[in-house]
């Protein structure tokens, strides 16, 4: 269950510029904060599927950052998978993060690890024995079409292959919440459709799925409720 109640997010202005979340305002240096998200209110029951839509700079990535616990809200109350993030002790966050899978736009693979080790990492962090994780990792790598490239390092893979490794890593631990930021950006149409089928299958099995995308065609092919953002505000939470 995900609940946003008057959630706001502000970054220190310098940090916000550094992160590229707000435009550089002609080099002006001010020590105040920049409000990225304002008064977000919505509720997602377990097992829901949502598109996260909006123009560039609308705050989609910031919403995702809140959802995968990279930042805490600076205003309001945020509940993720039943835990109140606003008040949750920091030591309880890692356990919660292990229940959340994320497909990043820039993949965020570990360059010195093989595709197998990248995908296996969430399971190893969760303390899964080697013998038990190998099957799942190999299955997923095979499913994303990389069973012949398990030992390849990310720099030896194409962009599409890296994205498929990132997708496998996000789902290998069977997360309760799956987040994706432009997950089909480097995939051809066939691969994109296979990914969408996987995400819908996960959703059908109970995983809550939130996907941020600009791909209108993809959204049109897979109609589902959408959260529409503009300038840090939620415009609608209605069906697409």
């Amino acid at each position: 269950m995900i609940r946003f109640e008057g959630v706001g997010l502000s970054y220190p202005r310098s940090a916000a510029m550094q992160a590229g979340t707000v435009p550089d305002e002609a080099g002006r240096r001010r020590s105040d904060t920049r409000e990225i998200l304002r008064n977000l209110n919505f509720f997602l029951p377990d097992g829901e599927f949502r598109w996260l839509l909006g123009p560039s700079g609308a705050g989609k990535t910031s919403v995702l950052r809140l959802l995968y616990l990279a930042v805490r809200p600076t205003a309001g109350r945020l509940t993720i998978l039943g835990a109140d993030i606003s008040t949750l002790n920091r030591t309880a966050l890692p356990r919660l993060r292990r229940r959340i899978g994320v497909v990043f736009q820039d993949f965020r693979l570990l360059g010195h690890l093989s595709a197998f080790d990248n995908v296996a990492l969430p399971l190893r962090l969760a303390g899964r024995p080697e013998g038990a994780l190998t099957v799942d990792v190999m299955e997923l790598l095979a499913w994303v079409g990389l069973d012949g490239r398990t030992d390849a390092r990310p720099h030896e893979l194409s962009g599409g292959e890296q994205q498929r490794v990132a997708i496998a890593r996000a789902v290998v631990a069977r997360p309760a919440l799956l987040l994706a930021d432009e997950p089909t950006g480097n995939l051809d149409d066939g691969q994109a459709e296979r990914l969408m089928r996987l995400l819908k299958e996960l959703n059908r099995l109970g995983t809550t799925v939130v996907i941020a995308t600009h791909n209108d065609a993809l959204v049109a092919r897979h109609p589902a409720p959408a959260l529409r953002l503009d300038q840090g505000r939620l415009l609608s939470a209605r069906r697409n």
Binding site: V71, E130, T134, M138
Partner: protein, 337 residues
């Protein structure tokens, strides 16, 4: 596939022959190497620079440790000696006492007899002329044409006194001896030996200070290396943190490497210091009772505690590596949510 990715439900562990990739599982069983390095720390924490710096610190620590133990030993030795011995000088030792004294008793005999009766005195022994000659040989020479035979100086008799656990009051003893045998002097050595012991204690404190400083510098070196590693591997750490790694897990990864590298450095430094310390012990052997014989036999003596202290250096270096890396990484990780 659906079963394998179903949320929060266990999946079968055994490979199924008809599942994709199952034919590769047999050769994948031990895929994770023992030193699995998900943070890439082998590149971030150099396995040459950190051990070399810690080895230099351990070498200095070994010298400081030796100085500490030797100074402590000397101070104890001198203090014990000062408290347990004194010297009594008897001018004109061969002169007979007054006619009332027993059977030609000399002044020296009277002093020795009085000391022997004094409570708290274990033994009182007058040095012979040969012993006096040997004692003065460094200054007046030895042999038939030198030494006491050539001198016409009136040398005093010297009585060596060993004191017990409850020695007599020296002022009172000197007064009694001087009253019975005029001009007798009691020299306790305590002032000089006390000053030497104070000097030795000061040297010991300095050596202890050196050890503390060396430990601090070693901790600073480990902290700097760890911080450099954190900066270099920041992205990997953030990824692993985002995947649900705890602070303890990440700190443990750093700690395992820094502890090992620091312990190796400590071992190298202590090993390098050993021949130096043995050489110094050889040089210092003549100044230690029983040391000269041991040294001449080819076994220079190190303070016994040093044989425990030197092996402890790699352990201490490893402990410094562990504690410093834990503190540094955990402090750094607190900036992450």
């Amino acid at each position: 596939m659906a079963q394998a990715i179903a949320p929060n439900k266990p999946s079968p562990n055994k490979p199924s022959p008809n599942k994709p990739g199952a034919n590769k599982l047999r050769r994948r069983k031990n895929l994770r190497p023992a030193g699995f390095d998900e943070l890439g720390l082998r590149r971030a924490l150099d396995d040459r620079m950190l051990p070399a710096l810690v080895a230099a610190m351990a070498f200095l620590a070994a010298l400081g440790l030796a100085g500490f133990f030797v100074a402590a030993s000397l101070a104890r030795h001198w203090q014990d000696g000062a408290a347990s011995t004194l010297t009594v000088q008897v001018p004109d030792p061969g002169l007979a006492m007054e006619p009332g004294s027993a059977r030609g008793e000399t002044r020296r005999d009277r002093v020795v007899a009085m000391l022997a009766r004094t409570p708290g005195v274990v033994s009182a022994r007058a040095l012979s002329d040969d012993e006096l000659n040997e004692l003065l040989a460094p200054w007046i020479g030895a042999g038939p044409n030198n030494g006491l035979e050539r001198l016409t100086l009136p040398l005093p008799g010297v009585v060596q006194v060993r004191l017990g656990a409850t020695p007599p009051k020296l002022d009172e003893l000197e007064r009694q001896l001087a009253a019975a045998v005029p001009r007798t002097l009691v020299e306790s050595h305590q002032v000089w030996i006390g000053r030497l012991a104070t000097l030795a204690r000061s040297l010991q404190a300095c050596a202890g200070g050196v050890l503390v400083v060396v430990a601090g510098v070693a901790a600073a070196v480990v902290a700097a290396a760890t911080r450099a590693g954190l900066v270099q591997r920041r992205q990997a750490i953030e990824i692993v943190h985002g995947l649900g790694a705890t602070d303890g897990y990440i700190a443990g990864r750093f700690t395992r490497r820094t502890t090992r590298l620091a312990a190796i450095g400590g071992l190298l430094g202590a090993t390098a210091a050993l021949p130096v310390l043995l050489g110094l012990a050889q040089l210092g052997a003549p100044f230690v009772s029983g040391g000269a014989e041991a040294a001449s036999a080819g076994f220079p003596q190190l303070p016994a505690l040093l044989w425990f202290g030197l092996p402890a250096l790699p352990v201490a270096a490893g402990a410094i590596g562990f504690v410093t890396a834990q503190a540094t990484v955990r402090s750094w990780l607190r900036r992450l949510p």
